[in-house]
Amino acid sequence: MIKTTRTTLNYLTGILTTIIFVFPEVIRAQSEEVAEIVTDSLFRVDRINALIFVVVFCSAILLYTKWAKAGKPLFLRKIPGLDAVEEAVGRATEMGRPVLFIPGIAELDEIETIAGVSILGRVAKITAQYDTPLMVPVRYPLVLAAGQEVVEQAYIEAGKQDSYDKDSVRYVAGEQFSFTATVNGYMMRERPATNIYMGAFFAESLLLAETGNAAGSIQIAGTARPEQLPFFIAACDYTLMGEELYAASAYLSREPIMTGGLKGQDFVKMLIIVAIIIGVLLATFDVGEWYIHLFEEV
């Protein structure tokens, strides 16, 4: 027992000595070399740390996706906001009222909007099955085209092509507050039973969510913007925070190939947590200067 402890301590001392004394020297030497290369290379050597991260991240996701494909069971924690989607659409069906879905107010080149449009496809499949009217106001024509395609395909897959209304996805206004005024007016007139907000939202988030709340709708929101989250939490029944928005499509699909990506992401998150803990420890003992440089542009 004592021998094992001593051996472990020896190993730990060796690792710590390497981290504290050897690594800084290697990094310093590399930085000097890199500074010379940076000036005349087309390759951004100063971004090598980002490249390493990209390689590790991609490998983790691909590895977990491969395992998921092979049938390895992967645990996904429950996301109440997404579990509530079907229930909320069912409520709208019982009440005979429409479902309002807003895929954010940003352009399609924002990944949040793409996430919103992906979730729209899943929601449209449910509304098609229940024959519930769906209303999707959008702010950009590109989102309109993508939204129409996604909703139409969902109705075709559900075998309800005749129920598909091309104007269910409609362009309402190009300006932020003109869009908000139109949607708020719709909420108060039509009183949709369910409002789903998924994507990038800005100052209009509370205007929309509070109006929906006043109209008595059940509301599910999701955004990756931390500054808008408190507004949605205050005014909505369920809120997806940050990464949950991007996980939503995979979560709703329940396809192993999609959930594998989520597990890979969790693995990288664990690596980041370990990196943060090491950073905190090194900074506490005032030996972490070189460690910080690993995460900066050289």
């Binding site: 490249l51 590109l142 085209a145 908000t180 509070e210 931390p226 990506g261 990288v268």
Partner: protein
């Protein structure tokens, strides 16, 4: 073909943009990246017509079928054409055309659209008050802590409030700044931002590799 071509386009475009990040802008792949951004702008410009067609069709159908509030749809159509037509007509026909100062477009924007949008934004204050009223109810110990902290932060954010807090011994404003805003609040925000960034990267990878296809209606 309907599935594989868009996936191929997404794969090539995504790969070029990721690889270009590691090369200088004056390299071949760097200039290709710039080119892709220009293409995106051009495609965006063309799709504007889709938006106009959508808004006109929806409004015109409502007017034709005399749906509830059809009169307002006429106003919408008038608004669309009153803004768009004078803005695209050649300035040589009249100084009122085009989009410079003193044109019809400029007048409509400055004296109608802009004040209306400002009014919408201004109503946010009332919405914040009603949301805060609901959120800050001291129903439990945690909610009470949230209520007290939020009140202190709101006071600290206004000059008069900060002056009042300064009267309390122990430098409360500095404590709020260090531990509440720079400590607890910032830690939570960073946690969300890191998670969201990883989620965005993971989703991008799923799109580039063609695993996530729901955004094209294929899922």
């Amino acid at each position: 073909m309907r599935t594989s071509l868009p996936i191929a386009v997404a794969f090539i475009s995504g790969l070029v943009l990721v690889v270009a990040f590691f090369f200088r802008d004056d390299s071949l792949i760097g200039s290709l990246r710039q080119e892709f951004i220009v293409w995106l702008t051009i495609i965006g410009g063309f799709t504007l017509l889709l938006g106009v067609v959508s808004i006109v069709r929806v409004s015109w159908t409502a007017v034709k079928r005399r749906k509830e509030g059809w009169f307002y749809k006429i106003l919408t159509l008038l608004g669309v054409f009153a803004m768009a037509i004078p803005a695209v007509l050649p300035v040589s026909w009249s100084p009122l055309f085009g989009r410079s100062d003193g044109t019809i477009y400029d007048w409509l924007f400055n004296y109608m659209q802009s004040p209306m949008m400002s009014t919408m934004f201004a109503t946010l204050a009332f919405y914040i008050a009603s949301a805060a009223h609901r959120a800050f109810r001291a129903r439990s110990a945690e909610a009470t802590i949230l209520l007290i902290t939020a009140c202190a932060i709101m006071l600290w954010r206004i000059p008069m409030g900060e002056a009042m807090l300064n009267m309390i011994p122990g430098d409360l404003p500095s404590w709020l700044n260090t531990y509440v805003m720079g400590g607890a609040n910032m830690a939570v925000q960073r946690g969300i931002i890191i998670g969201a960034a990883l989620g965005a990267a993971s989703m991008s990878l799923r799109i580039i590799l063609g695993i996530e296809r729901m955004y094209m209606g294929k899922g």
